[in-house]
C-alpha cells in the first residue's frame, strides 16, 4: 500500500478470529500474553509508555500512542533507522473479531530494513536496485 500524501508505505495483515474483542484485547495488552505471540516485553497500556522488544535480529523500541480499550491500540515500532507505527484495530463480528494490523511509515526504498543494520548493506542494496532498474 502506498500513501501518496506522505510517500510512506504500509503493511496490512488482517484476520477474523472466533473470539470476542475483549479477549483479543487482553492478548494484545497483557505483557505475559504478549510474550506468548510476540516477544518478552514490559508493555503497559498507557499512552506515552515506552517499552522494548528484543528480537534476535536486534531490539525494537516502542512507545504507546493510542489506547482505546477493545477498539484501537497503537504504538511506535522502530530502531535506529526504522520509524514505523503499528496499529491494532479489533472489530466485533458475528463470529468473533476481525483483527486488523497495520504497520505504517515505511519510507520508499527501505528494503534494508531486514538486516540493514549491518554495515555495507544499504550501499549494496542501492547499487543493486540501480542494476535491477537498468535490467528491466
Amino acid at each position: 500500500m502506498t500513501d501518496t500524501a506522505t510517500e510512506t508505505q504500509s503493511v496490512v495483515v488482517e484476520r477474523e478470529v472466533s473470539f470476542p474483542p475483549e479477549k483479543v484485547w487482553r492478548a494484545l495488552t497483557q505483557p505475559h500474553l504478549i510474550e506468548e505471540w510476540l516477544m518478552k516485553n514490559d508493555f503497559q497500556p498507557k499512552v506515552g509508555h515506552r517499552f522494548a522488544l528484543s528480537f534476535d535480529w536486534g531490539p525494537i523500541d516502542c512507545e504507546v500512542l493510542k489506547v482505546e480499550p477493545h477498539k484501537v491500540l497503537s504504538y511506535t515500532w522502530g530502531d535506529h533507522e526504522l520509524q514505523t507505527v503499528v496499529t491494532w484495530t479489533p472489530t466485533p463480528t458475528r463470529r468473533g473479531t476481525h483483527l486488523l494490523m497495520e504497520q505504517s511509515g515505511f519510507r520508499p526504498g527501505q528494503p534494508r530494513y531486514f538486516h540493514g543494520a549491518k554495515a555495507g548493506w544499504p550501499r549494496f542494496l542501492e547499487a543493486l536496485e540501480q542494476v535491477l532498474a537498468k535490467t528491466n
Partner: protein, 107 residues
Amino acid sequence: MPQPHDALFRTLADPTRRAIFEQLCREGDQTVAAITARAGISQPGVSKHLRLLKQAGLVGDRHEGRQTHYSARLDALGPLIDWTHQMASFWERRFDDLEDLLKRMDQ
C-alpha cells in the same frame, strides 16, 4: 526480518562475493578467467566464491565447450528486495501464534 533466507544473507555478506555478483549483474555472463582478472584474488579463490554463490542460487553456470560461463540469477534476490512481503509474513506468523494463544486462554 527474522530468519529470512540466511544463506542468501551469509553469501552476500562477504565483500569479495558481493563484488563478483555485482560484476556479473553489470556485465552479464563471464568465465572464471574474466572474473579472476577483475577480482584481485586467485582463480581457485574465485571458484570457491562462485560455488557458494551458486549454492545460494545467486549464480547459474552454463558449459560451452571447455569453458564455463557464469551468470547472475536476479530472481534469487526477490526475497531480499520484497520487504513488504517479508513484513507481511512476519506478521502472519505472529497472527498464527496469537490465534493459538487465544485458543489456550481461559474464557
